[in-house]
Amino acid sequence: MKFYDLHVHSEFSEGESSIEEIAERAKILGYSGICFAEYFKNFRKIEELKKKLNDVSKRVGIEIYLGFEARNSYELSKLAKKRKEFDILLVRGGELNLNRKAVETKEVDVLTHPEFGRKDSGLNHVMARLASENNVAIEINFREIVSLSKTSRSLLLKNIQRNIMLCRKYGTPLILSSGAISHWHLKDPKVLISMACVLGLEIKEAKNALSQVPGKIIQISKGRQDERWIMPGVKVIS
């Protein structure tokens, strides 16, 4: 089974480790592919980034994808327009308006930690349904769980469990990710799957959230980068 971690930060964004260190560690832990989430400010360096990721991918022997994480509505609009130029479009969740805009936008692949920095879960039944219709995956971020403790961690777990319940109810895709900012934050896929099981997912659902769902996102993204692609569901055949 192929496992993918679609939310990893390198030293180019907020990370502490180099692309090589993270890729090598991901390979050791048994991932087939990882996606580096970069910030909009680095969009100017996109060609340089692509070249570097390609080199590391060939050297280490792991699939590496380039993603951009929008942190506000302005960045989301800009990145949605340039969607064909990179692999994955992530939106940093937490702010309610941005969460809503992310699940309404077809170009978005992943809404990361919608409950981030909130007292509530950042997602309601309307947004879960919209995410399902627009095929926007909701992320369960492991770094948040590890970095918090006591009361704040228990509140976070409650919110994550609520989001899982909503996603199951409306058939919204769920993905698991380490949210690593250093190669030490990357976790074994079995650890992520086990944590998802502890939080209420069935083992099959948890495995899908780390393999099939991200795999499908990558497949759609590759289709989108095809020259014949026009918009979701529309493609030039001949």
């Binding site: 050791i28 799957i193 502890v198």
Partner: protein
């Protein structure tokens, strides 16, 4: 002290053994006791005393490989996911940054020893 008679097989708890390897910073070292205390702290913090009691978790001292940093955890068959998840919550052993790689989950010590080559 007189020992208890062993329970009949149908009443015994079904066990699982989890083999794991600790990936650690080069040049830094840690001991079995660091591993043991970090595991108990992580599990007690996350699941509480009652939760941990229901897992029957135990880090097996005689199967700890100090050189390769490979260890085996024992727990009951219903708590495998709980125990593996708690390994992900451990970020440091002593002062050393660590990550865990799960090597194998098995029902007998014999098969896990063969697989991991302890």
């Amino acid at each position: 002290m007189k020992r208890l008679k062993i329970l009949i097989p149908s009443l015994r708890e079904r066990k699982r053994y989890i083999a794991f390897q600790v990936i650690h910073e080069k040049g830094e070292d840690f001991s079995y006791s660091d591993m043991e205390s970090a595991l108990w702290d992580a599990m007690l913090d996350f699941y509480g005393e009652l939760g941990v009691s229901q897992t029957s978790v135990w880090l097996m001292k005689d199967l700890w490989n100090e050189k390769r940093k490979i260890g085996i955890l024992r727990c009951n068959h219903k708590s495998v996911q709980k125990v593996i998840a708690s390994l992900g919550l451990i970020e440091r052993l002593g002062d050393t940054r660590v990550t865990f790689k799960i090597l194998k989950v098995s029902g007998t010590i014999k098969s896990i020893k063969e697989k991991v080559r302890l």
